[in-house]
């Protein structure tokens, strides 16, 4: 590599740090949307780097469906303690109790869609004017059109036709009363970039990403973890497999794949030669062709 050139990871890092610093400068009360997944862990690591040796100047917001992997919650609490960060948790359970959402029923019921309401309620309660997320443009076609600073109206809705143009690196975070922004510092990263960066920088991630033995059920071509929230259908049986998860969502909808990759290096190899998309094991995206776009318009992450 020639002198005065950055590698792709260094350039992506520089871009993300720039965006995080603009977020700190342009907003009064920004929060990092923390899910415990690798993308939000990456955003957190980048934020730490951006403001070091000062603390990360953002609150952390976790929308807890109550259907999380216990490992995710344990990881979250440990990381927050380590950073000395302020964490607020929005509980989907509370939104159900207050009647603002209704629990889905039926065999495919899950709490994925309900999260949006809880998220919007938490934004309003804590008066966050910017929520920083780990969304990436390579994940899904509706996300390919996201801005770094994504404008949301006072109902938290995303209007893809009315987004502000983003020119050069000039970001316009001005907002009217009641509106807020979603900020996506790692928009330009691909799944492989994320794994390469995590590996190179030796960043800790939940054990769920590494191959481990687990009780699972075969459903829609993927291994769904057995849990108290799952009801078995006829002919389904619980088996033990060595699997790992490529993305982490709720325990009810996140499928794992059989794998022997139990180190970051091995995961990296697996991702590099993967022939299926990352979200292919996520049943929340399989509900329809426009599942992500529809949820985003309502105010999803």
């Amino acid at each position: 590599m020639r002198k005065y050139a950055l590698s792709h990871l260094q350039e992506l890092e520089a871009e993300a740090i720039y965006i995080l610093r603009e977020t700190a400068a342009q907003f009064e009360n920004p929060a990092i949307l923390f899910s415990g997944g690798k993308d939000s862990i990456l955003v957190t690591a980048l934020a730490r780097k951006a403001f070091y040796p000062a603390k990360i100047p953002f609150t952390f917001l976790h929308v807890d469906t109550g259907h999380n992997f216990p490992e995710t919650i344990a990881f979250r609490d440990q990381l927050m303690e380590q950073l000395g960060a302020k964490l607020v948790v929005g509980l989907v359970e509370d939104s159900i109790k207050s009647g603002s959402v209704k629990e889905e029923t039926g065999i495919d019921a899950n709490r994925n869609k309900l999260q949006t309401t809880t998220l919007l309620e938490a934004i309003e309660e804590h008066q966050f004017d910017a929520c920083i997320g780990g969304g990436r443009r390579d994940e899904e076609k509706a996300r390919a059109k996201e801005r770094f600073f994504s404008h949301r109206d006072d109902f938290g809705q995303w209007n893809p036709k009315n987004q502000r143009p983003e020119l050069w690196n000039l970001l316009n975070g001005k907002l009217n009363m009641g509106e807020n922004f979603r900020v996506f510092p790692i928009s330009n990263w691909t799944e492989l970039d994320v794994w390469q960066y995590l590996t190179l920088n030796n960043i800790a991630i939940p054990s769920l990403y590494f191959a481990h033995e687990r009780q699972v059920i075969r459903r829609q071509g993927t291994w769904i973890p057995n849990s108290e929230f799952i009801s078995l259908r006829p002919k389904e049986e619980v088996v033990t497999k060595k699997i790992r998860f490529r993305t982490l969502g709720d325990i009810t909808i996140t499928g794992g794949s059989e794998s022997e990759a139990d180190t970051l290096e091995l995961i990296l190899e697996e991702v590099a030669i993967a022939r299926q998309t990352e979200r292919g094991n996520r049943s929340d995206d399989k509900r329809s062709e426009t599942a992500m776009e529809d949820r985003k318009k309502e105010g999803y992450f």
Binding site: I17, D138, T190
Partner: protein, 420 residues
């Protein structure tokens, strides 16, 4: 595999075109042939193609976007796509080519190293080709690659290819373009897209992907004029870092080294660089587009919007700015109206005092008479700002030569500006 040690450069390029010139097919082909498409995406593609009764894989569907876009068969907004080869990581800003979407082309062009322009071999240079080329030259994209597509429909003829080159060159002589190359391709059949085509042995140049992988982009950053706009001041207020004061920002241009004598604008205070840090790591020097934190030897009052430069190479503090503006909002420009202006990390207000002319982007003629300035118009203006801005000419320095205007009542970004 050693992947974790793999270092690639990023090349950002923009494409523009309409539905039928094969732009989506070309991007689909690049993604497909560079093996950036996953099996489940191919399965999905097969299903869509079968449903439509097409025998081949409809590659254009790989770039399908939002519901409205699919229904209308058009691209409304800038879409970003990614692929990588062992040599480079590519970021494509895919923008629609119609005149009403000029603003999207400008958005995509503002961060691009390279513009890919598609010409239909049967039609030759058309208005849209000129429009896209003009925008590429206005935004100073360093490299232009003209792909003459659908060569299969003109019998892969060398003569037709050369005719189009001549046609393009005679029009482009009016533009400021540094580096332009021509490649005859067929996106549908894959000729000269990834591999060299056996159908056009007369073409001695590289394939499109070969060109994208090898084009020299190192001189795209200005490494001479030191400009470091301060984004934030880092003050930990902890026992361990009691008196720590770091200036966080991204190097716009030039190379900053530990020990360098620097000057802070607008105050004019001088100091020395004590250290340059990125997280816990100390760096000997910083260059564009790195994000770092600079610590100075002296305690001086610095805040967001200030700029660290060299004493003998300073930007011009200007309150009267002459610029090219691209109007990007559906609200028309009001004469002598005031807007918020964002330039580097500075925010001020600006008034448009005078519109010198409007550019007809199809003919490149200057129109001194016009009715209104509205969406997609490109104009030359004189502005007055509420405080001096530390600007350079856009042609010398994109980072300190660019700005945006914001409507203070709607908060929307209404114009992109380039300092002349």
């Amino acid at each position: 595999m050693g992947l974790q040690h793999e270092e690639k450069e990023i090349l950002r390029f923009t494409t523009a075109g309409s539905v039928d010139d094969g732009k989506s097919t070309l991007i689909g082909r690049l993604l497909f042939d560079s093996k950036s498409i996953y099996e489940d995406q191919i399965d999905n593609l097969q299903k869509i193609s079968e449903k439509k009764g097409i025998s081949h894989l409809e590659l254009a569907h790989l770039t399908d976007g939002l519901k409205d876009e699919r229904e209308q068969g058009i691209t409304i907004d800038v879409a970003y796509r990614y692929f990588a080869t062992p040599k480079r990581k590519f970021i494509i800003a895919d923008t629609p080519g119609h005149v009403q979407y000029t603003r999207n082309m400008i958005t995509g062009a503002s961060t691009a190293n390279l513009a890919l322009i598609l010409v239909d071999a049967r039609k030759g240079v058309i208005e849209q080709t000129k429009r896209h080329s003009f925008i590429a030259s206005l935004l100073q994209i360093q490299h232009i690659v003209v792909c003459v597509n659908k060569m299969d429909l003109v019998d892969y003829g060398e003569e037709r290819f050369n005719e189009i080159i001549e046609e393009y060159k005679s029009f482009a002589s009016k533009l400021r373009i540094n580096d332009v190359r021509f490649i005859p391709i067929s996106a549908l059949n894959g000729d000269n897209v990834v591999d060299k085509s056996a159908n056009m042995p007369w073409f001695s140049g590289d394939s499109l992907l070969g060109t994208l992988e090898n084009i020299h982009i190192s001189s795209d950053h200005n490494l001479v004029d030191c400009r470091f706009p301060v984004q934030n001041v880092i003050r930990p207020f902890s026992d361990e870092f009691h008196d720590y004061r770091g200036y966080a920002g991204r190097v716009t241009s030039g190379i900053f080294k530990k020990g360098d004598e620097v000057m802070v604008l607008p105050s004019g205070f001088k100091s020395k660089i004590q250290s340059i840090v990125l997280g816990e790591e100390e760096l000997e020097e910083a260059f564009p587009p790195q994000s770092v934190t600079i610590n100075l030897e002296d305690e001086i009052d610095i805040s967001r919007g200030d700029m660290i430069v060299r004493e003998h190479n300073q930007p011009e503090p200007q309150q009267d700015v002459e610029a090219m503006l691209c109007w990007m909002n559906s609200d028309v420009m009001s004469p002598r109206a005031k807007y918020a202006i964002k330039h580097t990390s500075v925010e001020a207000r600006a008034m448009i005092k005078e519109v010198l002319y409007k550019v007809d982007i199809n003919t490149l003629h200057r129109q001194e008479e016009y009715d209104t300035i509205g969406m997609n118009d490109i104009i030359r203006v004189k502005m007055r700002t509420t405080k001096p801005l530390l600007v350079d000419e856009y042609n010398q320095n994109k980072g300190t030569g660019s700005f945006i205007l914001i409507d203070e009542s709607t908060n929307e970004t209404v114009a992109a500006g380039m300092v002349i």
